[in-house]
């Protein structure tokens, strides 16, 4: 424990620190509650999107399987050569309770058959359907990337806030309180000692007053004589 000066100034300082720490803890708790609420709200979206993504992935795989089986994998691969490789996304950010989360611009990845870069005359509808399903899946993946990143960051912030609250609650505030208690005890002790000493002096003085003849013979009042009685 940090050594504290048992002075009244120090006690006032420690009391102020305790008050500040408790205020901080309450604020952090409020922040944590708000973050948890936001976390569960996003989590509902994420779990819904995940279910959608799983369903879409199944359908896409099924479509691809049929396209590969009927049209030959080389035809499917050849059609895939015609499509654009890159995918550009605009990512900005926003703040949720001080947590920076990404915002991905909702750009539609799904294309019409006329935008895929190949001639519709020679590419079968099965390949088109598989492409369409995978584009839909990609749309969901991008949407999910945004919410999952937000969820991850909010989750991280909740953990950090919880650690801070715990640190305040379990370590700092008890430490400050114990220091304040120590200071208070020490001051009280000192006050009691002073009071006792004063009482003792008073007693000696009173005794001397009662026996004026003995004043010259009485020993002088010293701190050690007060303590030893």
């Amino acid at each position: 424990m940090e050594q504290a000066n048992p002075t009244r100034m120090e006690l006032i300082r420690k009391s102020a620190q305790i008050k500040l720490a408790e205020q901080g803890r309450d604020l952090l708790r409020e922040k944590m509650d708000a973050l948890i609420q936001e976390f569960f709200r996003i989590m509902q979206n994420v779990s819904r999107s995940r279910d959608e993504l799983d369903a879409m992935a199944d359908v896409a795989q099924q479509s691809l399987l049929i396209a590969l089986a009927t049209d030959d994998p080389v035809t499917v691969k050849s059609a895939s050569f015609a499509t654009k490789r890159g995918l550009s996304l605009d990512i900005t950010g926003k703040n949720i309770m001080g947590v920076p989360v990404p915002v991905i611009e909702k750009k539609r990845i799904s294309k019409s058959v006329f935008e895929r870069g190949y001639s519709i005359i020679s590419v079968s509808g099965r390949i088109d359907e598989a492409a369409e399903k995978f584009e839909g899946e990609l749309d969901l993946v991008i949407g999910l990337a945004e919410t999952e990143t937000a969820l991850k960051r909010i989750g991280g912030e909740i953990q950090m806030t919880r650690r801070r609250v715990n640190a305040l609650e379990q370590v700092l505030i008890p430490q400050l309180k114990s220091q304040a208690k120590y200071i208070k005890n020490t001051i009280d002790e000192r006050e009691r000692e002073d009071l006792f000493r004063l009482k003792k002096v008073k007693k000696i003085i009173d005794r001397k007053k009662k026996a004026p003849g003995d004043v010259a013979a009485a020993p002088p009042v010293t701190p050690s004589s007060i303590v030893s009685g």
């Binding site: 009927t70 030959d72 080389v74 050849s78 050569f81 001639s119 519709i120 088109d128």
Partner: protein
């Protein structure tokens, strides 16, 4: 009837090849096999043995079957082409097999457009057409789209014509589809031009090509309706020369606005069966269902030619369709078996001829 003596020999050979096609029972036994290895073993007992053995050197499992099927189809069609070349004018064989050339050229152009490695492009080629493997390898070696077109032009391969004509437009728009449409239209235009004579063979071939054009146009119309393509742009995607549906009628189909209304307009035509697909297919606008029906129709028509005039091109047409269908069926069985798809669904996907 033209060159019946030559047809006697060629068609006898083709009939011999037809007799080696796998029957329904064998396809059924493949469906009942427990896994891919069992299918490979079973195929090893059929005329696919040689290709399976060759493919098995480098590939295993599903890849082995698919590579073997590709090798087999390329070998078979090149054999037909060489039979025609030796015995008579090969113009009909060219029409039948040049679709693989178109596929290969498109694949090379697509690959070059995105700078795909040559090995990847080569892996997607099927040398079943007029352009043999050596020619395709040389084309793939070219550095870019321009290089491929230039080489095709240098070798005076007719498909360089539409590509050269539309290269400028492609360069401006950076859209390869421009050249692909030109190539597709050119393939059908050349095919129709080659068979405009009055011989029985020309008539048979014309009927087949025109039916294919109809089917292709109906597929395009369905896609246009679903993706709400403006009527003005519709003509760009239509191929002239259909058997039943001319351009005017096709535009009317696009104008119908919904797939259901468009299919209603096909009543009375050979394609009226498209109006009888389940109701939810119209609602979902699922083109693949209509496409499957159209393919069944085309395959039945194509293979039906096998029962036509024995001394005509009909036998070759029938065989090409039957062989193509067989290879597709084996691939469907192998793929779907590997994915553990129910036997009932596998049977639904197959087309029996």
């Amino acid at each position: 009837m033209a060159t019946s003596v030559n047809y006697g020999y060629v068609n006898a050979r083709i009939r011999g090849m037809k007799s080696r096609l796998l029957g329904r029972e064998l396809l059924e036994s493949l469906i009942l096999k427990p896994d891919t290895d069992a299918i490979i073993t079973e195929l090893g007992k059929t005329p696919y043995r040689e290709e399976i053995e060759k493919a098995a050197v480098q590939h295993a499992g599903l890849a082995c079957i698919e590579v073997a099927l590709r090798m087999d189809i390329a070998r078979t069609f090149r054999k037909i082409y060489s039979l025609f070349k030796k015995e008579m004018d090969e113009k009909y064989a060219r029409i039948l097999l040049n679709r693989w050339d178109v596929h290969n050229i498109k694949t090379i152009l697509r690959g070059k457009n995105i700078h795909e490695p040559s090995s990847e492009i080569l892996g997607c080629l099927i040398p079943a057409g007029q352009l043999d493997e050596a020619t395709l390898v040389e084309l793939v070696k070219q550095p870019d789209v321009r290089g491929v077109i230039d080489l095709l032009a240098t070798w005076r391969i007719i498909y360089s014509l539409p590509l050269t004509q539309h290269f400028k437009e492609y360069s401006e728009k950076r859209d390869l589809a421009v050249m692909e449409y030109a190539l597709d239209k050119f393939y059908f235009a050349i095919a129709l031009d080659t068979i405009r004579g009055n011989t029985d063979d020309d008539r048979i071939m014309r009927e087949m090509v025109a039916t294919e054009i109809d089917v292709t146009n109906i597929r395009s119309v369905l896609k246009m309706i679903r993706d709400r393509i403006p009527i003005e742009e519709a003509q760009e995607f239509l191929i002239p020369g259909g058997a039943v549906l001319d351009e005017k009628r096709l535009v009317l189909l696009v104008k119908a606005g919904t797939i259901k209304d468009a299919m209603k307009q096909l009543a009375g035509s050979p394609y009226e069966f498209l109006g009888q697909v389940p109701e939810e297919t119209f609602k979902q606008e699922k083109i693949s269902v209509f496409e499957k029906e159209l393919e069944r129709f085309l395959i039945r028509k194509g293979t039906g030619w096998f029962f036509g005039d024995p001394l005509s091109i009909a036998i070759a047409i029938g065989y090409v369709w039957a062989k193509f269908t067989e290879v597709t069926n084996i691939r469907i069985i192998s793929r779907l078996k590997m994915a553990d798809v129910a036997e009932k669904i596998i049977r639904e996907e197959l087309v029996y001829v």
